[in-house]
Symmetry: C2
Subunit: 219 residues, 2 copies
């Protein structure tokens, strides 16, 4: 499998989208690159490249049409069509994800949750019913769901992934701290929460060195 | 401020570290690049570059010493020293982060939580006491904490950031879906959960096109 190009660009697109949607709601029609650059804390050239990756180009000296930019990003990410998903593991992380209101804007609709705990099965969490995980493959297939979100402890994640694949899922968003084995035609995105902390740590260390050395050239 | 170089590399380092720690626990002393490449789902050349960024080079035809690699990554990320942090917002996401056991391995120790809900103040969540958010700046300063983790709803995040800065914090890990204004010498890492979903969406779309066109050259 070829690797995905321009990972940082792809990761940043939802943040652009969030800002642009806010602008649209406030009636803003045109946005200039420097404004986006300030918001994203990036250089203008990086912003231009990020947006060009989605197939849109701004007008020099004017900027981008907000609505056009939103459509271009959503289309690039295939977020103009809604994807339905099931979520497995209704613990604190699973509940946090079920409660996150931004996903609908990203074309993601979580329609059911699954858990092994009999105390949770049958309850409603943030509007979604929690089903017994024993029915995961059956219900996923019956509802024609193509996406699964795994929020169970690492030791259970492979079993859950196997059931999701049996249920016909094409994509898995994996929050468990483990590498999953899946067939070649299934895509897994592993979410490593410490990845962000690694970035923060490196930034802090750079800031500390700059302060100590009073040397703006340190990189 | 200069931008951080090699973001994808930095983001991937915790995943290497996780795998390498597992190997060390199993008594493995040497690891070859292809094995790490398979685990990371990357090409070998990318793995070599990632690891070289931390200042370590493997022996051609042999591989890397597991212990050396672990030390090199931890040192690059400054995770060989423990950072103490406070967490603000003990809702479902905050609780999930408090319950995550991997952080100590990354040199992150969350020592207290804060919340505005009187029903939560005084309780213990995953071993940490929850304090009244009104005492955030005071206690952060008194405990000499330099890191804050924000898990409150977006509307409250700026107020919390202001209090953390008053309390002497140098770094903020922001899980609220909002851009924060902080002084120049404070580093913010904004965690956009949809970033991972964006990557998954792009990968899925590529897979779909490959299937439709039966064209392995599509990229």
């Amino acid at each position: 499998m070829k690797k995905v190009q321009k990972l940082p660009t792809i990761r940043r697109l939802p943040t652009y989208l969030y800002k642009l949607n806010e602008m649209r709601k406030s009636g803003v029609e045109i946005v200039a690159t420097p404004e986006l650059a300030r918001y994203m804390n990036l250089e203008a050239i990086v912003v231009r490249k990020d947006l060009a990756a989605t197939g849109v180009t701004g007008q020099p000296g004017v900027g981008y049409k907000v609505v056009e930019l939103i459509e271009s990003i959503r289309s690039f990410l295939s977020w103009d069509n809604t994807s339905e998903a099931v979520l497995v593991g209704a613990g604190s992380l699973g509940s946090a994800i079920l409660g996150y209101e931004g996903f609908e804007e990203y074309g993601l609709r979580i329609i059911a949750a699954f858990d092994a705990d009999p105390g949770k099965v049958g309850t409603i969490i943030h509007g979604r019913e929690v089903f017994d995980v024993d029915r995961l493959a059956e219900l996923t297939r019956r509802m024609c769901i193509r996406l699964g979100i795994i929020c169970v402890p690492a030791d259970y994640a492979q079993d859950v992934a196997d059931e999701l694949v049996k249920g016909g899922v094409h994509g898995i968003w994996n929050f468990a701290n483990v590498s999953l084995k899946v067939p070649e035609d299934v895509v897994v995105q592993r979410e490593v929460i410490a990845g962000g902390f690694a970035v923060l740590s490196v930034k802090l260390e750079r800031m500390r060195r700059q302060h100590e050395n009073r040397d703006p050239e340190v990189e």
